[in-house]
């Protein structure tokens, strides 16, 4: 890769991480003010895991995520306006206002669902990989899920299927030390989540989830392996979420053990900014990126606020390809 292209790519990683962080910070604050209905699970702290993974993919590769759904599509390159509009329940939202915070799936960037039933994305990703394989497109399907999700039968069955059929799938387990209030050690009998892969004789990597380059390198290798027909790969990213499981709940459910300071000291954005600067990238350029992103996020919110809410009859479309009938009492 030429130095220029490497530079562009590195800046893009920084840009996407910033985009996630700033999007999340804004979302959290407007949620606190009641502007976003429902529960909000933020991705702040985990940016390197998402961005490193997605930057290693082709644009047309598939991706499936979970309830913690904001970071994944942004990492894969999604535009912010439809995402923010979705959080506000607007018709212009990426899911037309029907999905909300747990489902910010942007199919235009290869996303095939951010599903809020823990573990349920894994079989879907295996199936997308199967579809890619059968159609000979050379695409891979990457699935994000948490440490807690590995205890679900769905995750087991999906990974087993992918392994038996040598599907081009990458299973990225974002180990952020907790599932809701439950420390990983209370829910998972293995030390490294990557040990789960042994049940499928699946290739696996463990990677520093705060280091976007390390994540990218691991997923690049995984993607190459999977794409070449050798089978799926399990990648464990060791990372950390900064906010509570869901924000603005009135109290923090997560029984932190003092580790939050260590993790925040290795903030993925700071780490990466430092690395870029050390490599000679002009700090001013990074500042510019940050303020460009601030504008982007502000613009997304303005767009969302200016957008219309969906109309009642839209509650009856997309159940099937054809709308289902709306009862008379709602027509008034």
């Amino acid at each position: 890769m030429s130095q220029n292209r490497k530079n562009d790519r590195d800046l893009e990683k920084y840009r996407r991480m910033q985009r996630i962080r700033q999007f999340e910070d804004l979302a959290e604050s407007i949620h606190a003010q009641g502007e976003i209905p429902g529960a909000l699970h933020t991705y702040a702290g985990m940016e390197a895991s998402g961005v490193g993974s997605c930057m290693a993919l082709r644009d047309d590769d598939y991706m499936v995520g979970n309830h913690r759904s904001h970071g994944h599509p942004i990492a894969k390159g999604a535009k912010l306006r439809p995402l923010m509009a979705e959080l506000l329940g607007k018709k212009t939202g990426v899911c037309s206002g029907k999905g909300g915070s747990m489902h910010l799936s942007d199919f235009s960037v290869g996303s095939l669902g951010e599903t809020s039933i823990v573990g349920s994305g894994v079989p879907v990703a295996a199936g997308a990989a199967l579809g890619a394989k059968m159609q000979g497109t050379g695409q891979v399907a990457l699935c994000f899920f948490g440490d807690g999700a590995t205890s679900e039968g769905a995750a087991h069955e999906g990974m087993n299927l992918a392994a038996v059929w040598k599907l081009p799938a990458i299973f990225v387990c974002e180990n952020n030390l907790y599932g809701m209030s439950t420390p990983v050690a209370n829910a998972v009998p293995v030390k490294d989540l990557a040990d789960r892969a042994k049940a499928y004789a699946m290739k696996s990597f463990i990677v520093d989830g705060q280091d976007v380059d390390a994540v990218e390198a691991a997923v690049l290798e995984a993607a190459e392996y999977a794409r070449s027909g050798q089978g799926p790969v399990f990648v464990e990213t060791k990372t950390y979420r900064y906010a509570d499981h869901a924000v603005n709940m009135g109290r923090d459910l997560t029984p932190r053990g003092g580790e939050e300071h260590e993790w925040k000291a290795r903030d993925p954005l700071t780490l990466y900014r430092d690395r870029l600067e050390e490599a000679g990238v002009d700090g001013a350029m990074l500042d510019t990126i940050e303020s460009e992103i601030a504008d982007e996020v502000a613009d997304a919110l303005k767009f969302a606020r200016d957008s219309e809410y969906p109309q009642q009859h839209e509650a009856f479309t997309d159940v099937f390809v054809d709308p289902v009938p709306m009862p008379a009492y709602l027509r008034a």
Binding site: V94, K98, L112, S120, V122, A126, G127, A154, N160, W165
Partner: protein, 330 residues
């Protein structure tokens, strides 16, 4: 024209659609070895890429069907026996039924999940489920339950070509029923349209799946007694053809719903509720249900078989409706 069995109609429908569209493929447990006869020689004809034996993991491979469908494939998933849908319930309800909706129409899930209903042959409670009503309570799933070889072929082909997920419930008591089948490779029966299996004037019997042939037998017997029966087969349970049901009852003024499944919250109950809500003024008597009582299915044959709807029970219900006094005790 030669007559074809229900089971072979399934095979034909699949074979024709596999031939027609290369995006169509099949997966399921032990389908290569063709356990029930619906995939005869498929592995040889279409290869192991398109006819895939799966590990025993229903939630996994049914969910994989969703993923494959989202990227352009059209899976036919053979879940063997409908009892094995329970382990896959989450992928069916949370993913397959809901994905198109929660993503605001971005996803399309053209897939078919087939499963047969085993009952009446000492399969015991864990293999004797007829769970379509449970899925009827979940929006987003089309559901078919054909009762003849003719309907089976036309509806399964339509289901495979449909862009929405379709659950196909195959009543094993219909497996050997025969029909003449049209040659047309585009023979399709549109989903959502019921069928009057027999016209009549005194009582509408709305029967589901394996209950249809039984209702027809009962109708013949009642006809001899001078009671004229109309037999309505909804064929598709979602979307349910409420109009054909209500129109029939408007004409006859009397209705019996017959369903081989457990009674409470059954398709029979739904049809009864639909009738009393919509055509009450036409009703000359109660809407009676002939179903399987709310107990499990025992292994021992002599106490299993009488639990299902049969000709006698339908006839008794019909006679009761034709009588002057029409109440039943709670």
């Amino acid at each position: 024209m030669a007559k074809t069995t229900f089971l072979d109609a399934i095979r034909q429908a699949q074979e024709e659609e596999l031939e027609r569209d290369e995006k169509v493929f099949m997966m399921g447990e032990d389908i290569v070895c063709n356990v029930f006869g619906t995939t005869t020689d498929f592995a040889e004809k279409f290869g192991l890429e398109r006819v895939r034996d799966t590990p025993i993991s229903e939630n996994g491979f049914i969910g994989a069907g969703a993923g494959a469908a989202m990227v352009g494939m059209r899976p036919i998933i053979d879940a063997t026996i409908s009892s094995f849908l329970f382990p896959a319930m989450d992928q069916i309800v949370s993913i397959i039924a809901k994905s198109r909706y929660i993503y605001g129409g971005q996803a399309k899930l053209p897939l078919v999940i087939r499963s047969c209903m085993f009952y009446g042959n000492s399969n015991a409670a864990q293999h004797s489920d007829r769970p379509y009503a449970m899925f009827m309570n979940v929006p987003g799933l089309k559901i078919i339950a054909p009762s003849s070889a003719y309907d089976m072929k036309g509806m399964l082909k339509a289901a495979i070509r449909d862009d929405d997920p379709v659950l196909c419930f195959e009543d094993s008591t219909c497996w050997m029923n025969k029909s003449e089948l049209p040659d047309d490779p585009d023979f399709l029966i549109p989903l959502g349209k019921g069928d009057i299996k027999k016209e009549g004037n005194d009582i509408s019997i709305i029967a589901v799946a394996g209950a249809v042939p039984i209702a027809l037998k009962a109708a013949a017997k009642l006809e001899e007694e001078g009671i004229s029966i109309e037999v309505v087969d909804p064929r598709t349970l979602v979307p349910l053809d409420r109009e054909i049901i209500c129109n029939s009852v408007r004409k006859t003024g009397r209705a019996i719903t017959v369903d081989p499944a457990h009674q409470t919250c059954s398709a029979a109950s739904e049809i009864s509720a639909t009738i009393v809500e919509n055509v009450f003024d036409a009703l000359k008597g109660p809407v009676l249900r002939v179903t399987t009582p709310d107990t499990h299915l025992p292994f021992s044959p002599d106490i299993e078989k009488p639990l299902y709807p049969n000709v006698d029970r339908i006839c008794a219900a019909a006679r009761q409706l034709m009588d002057a006094r029409q109440t039943v005790s709670a």
